[in-house]
Amino acid sequence: MAWTREQMAQRAAKELRDGFYVNLGIGIPTLVSNYIPDGMSVQLQSENGMLGMGPFPYEGEEDPDLINAGKQTITELPTTSYFSSADSFAMIRGGHIDLSILGAMQVAENGDLANWMIPGKMVKGMGGAMDLVAGVKKVVVVMEHSAKAKDGSVSPKLLKSCDLPLTGARVVDLVITDLGVFSIDKAGSGGMTLIALAEGVTEDAIRAQTEAAFKVALDGSARKAA
């Protein structure tokens, strides 16, 4: 049984540590905020100029001046501070954000990430994704293990090398898919390692849907080292 979106978010939440400042991308990463352990202080950064992002407002309490990077209405917390886009990305580029959790189209075994454009399709732009993956201390990708096209065909997203234009070269530390968890030695030559399996998913099932070469280290120590 593959993990649901909620289970993937729950697994990603295990990467949180007390006192962390975290940037969450759109989609499954946003769900991670629902799984911050009680008593753990985690502040969410929104790259449009906010630290200490609160939940969605109650209906009728939306403030057009208060949105997140996905342009959704949100709320503030007692910890909140606001700043300009330049200061926001100075924070990101300067390595002050502990963790970025974001989605991806493709991840290569060396940590290359592609998630902003498909040649030949209309390009919307990279927004803040390139800055985030280049600047944040630890980058975690949460994505479906394989891509399902409209015609039903399935193609792997964990690749030997990305064929889509990169968002960043050697930037991903950890990949969480619906089938398992992979660590990547992005700074060295250690490549990709499968460190956890979703319940009921086998290593063989993962191999069948993965182009990237990967080692396997499912014991707790390797998991911890990731």
């Binding site: 109650y58 503030e76 390139m130």
Partner: protein, 234 residues
């Protein structure tokens, strides 16, 4: 007092010319100088290069200037949510230069701060670095990016005084403060116009020196792009 103009048309008089470069503040539809953009549309000026994080949506923000085909080129980080943009781009009528959002913000700050170029890790090893100088510092790879300046910047603020001192509100701050510093002429629309001395000087975010002209837009319409809410516990 000399900085305060009666309306957007008056505040832009003598500044607009075809083929100029305009910076427009805002992120999504938040903190967008919509009244000033409306006046730019009404002026009929064309061939604009517009530096703005986004391109508005159909019928709002910079979407207004796309409808009238007054924009020749956008320098932005994200232009989704705009069908007109896609049409004009695919028809070859509109150029786009994508910048990573943080690189865009820093290029604008640099332009205003007299910094012609700086290095950033962002985009190294990607399409964005193609044709740009790269360089190693301390064993890490960086891309050289250049400062951006404009002929005109239009910004939106929550409060301003007649000296041009500005205060922004919540995430409507975004690109407005840097843009205010990076243009030959900066025009601000403010929701609340007050007398000098009424704003605590420690809280001023844009010093009056950067703002040449200012208009009071108390009725500025604020739109929401993605209305998201949660349910109240029963």
């Amino acid at each position: 007092m000399r900085k305060v103009h009666a309306d957007a048309t008056a505040a832009l008089a003598g500044v607009l010319k075809d083929d100029m470069t305009v910076m427009a503040g805002g992120f999504g539809l938040c903190g967008v100088p919509d009244v000033l953009i409306g006046a730019i549309r009404d002026s009929g000026v064309k061939g604009l290069t517009v530096i703005s994080n986004n391109a508005g949506i159909d019928g709002a923000g910079l979407g207004l200037l796309l409808e009238t085909r007054q924009i020749r080129k956008m320098i932005s980080s994200y232009v989704g949510e705009n069908k007109l943009f896609a049409q004009q781009y695919l028809a070859g009528e509109l150029e786009i230069e994508f910048n990573p959002q943080g690189t865009l913000a820093e290029r604008i700050r640099a332009g205003g701060a007299g910094i012609p170029a700086f290095y950033t890790k962002t985009g190294y090893g990607t399409l964005i670095a193609e044709g740009k100088e790269t360089r190693e510092f301390g064993g890490e790879h960086y891309v050289m990016e250049t400062g951006l300046v404009a002929d005109l910047a239009v910004v939106h603020a929550w409060k301003g005084d007649s000296e041009g001192n500005l205060v922004y509100r919540k995430t409507a701050r975004n690109f407005n403060p840097m843009m205010a510093t990076a243009a030959r002429v900066t025009v601000a629309q403010v929701e609340n116009l007050v007398e000098p001395g009424e704003i605590d000087p420690d809280t001023i975010m844009t010093a009056g020196i950067f703002v040449k002209r200012i208009i009071h837009t108390p009725q500025a319409e604020k739109r929401i792009e993605q209305r998201t809410v949660r349910k109240r516990a029963a």
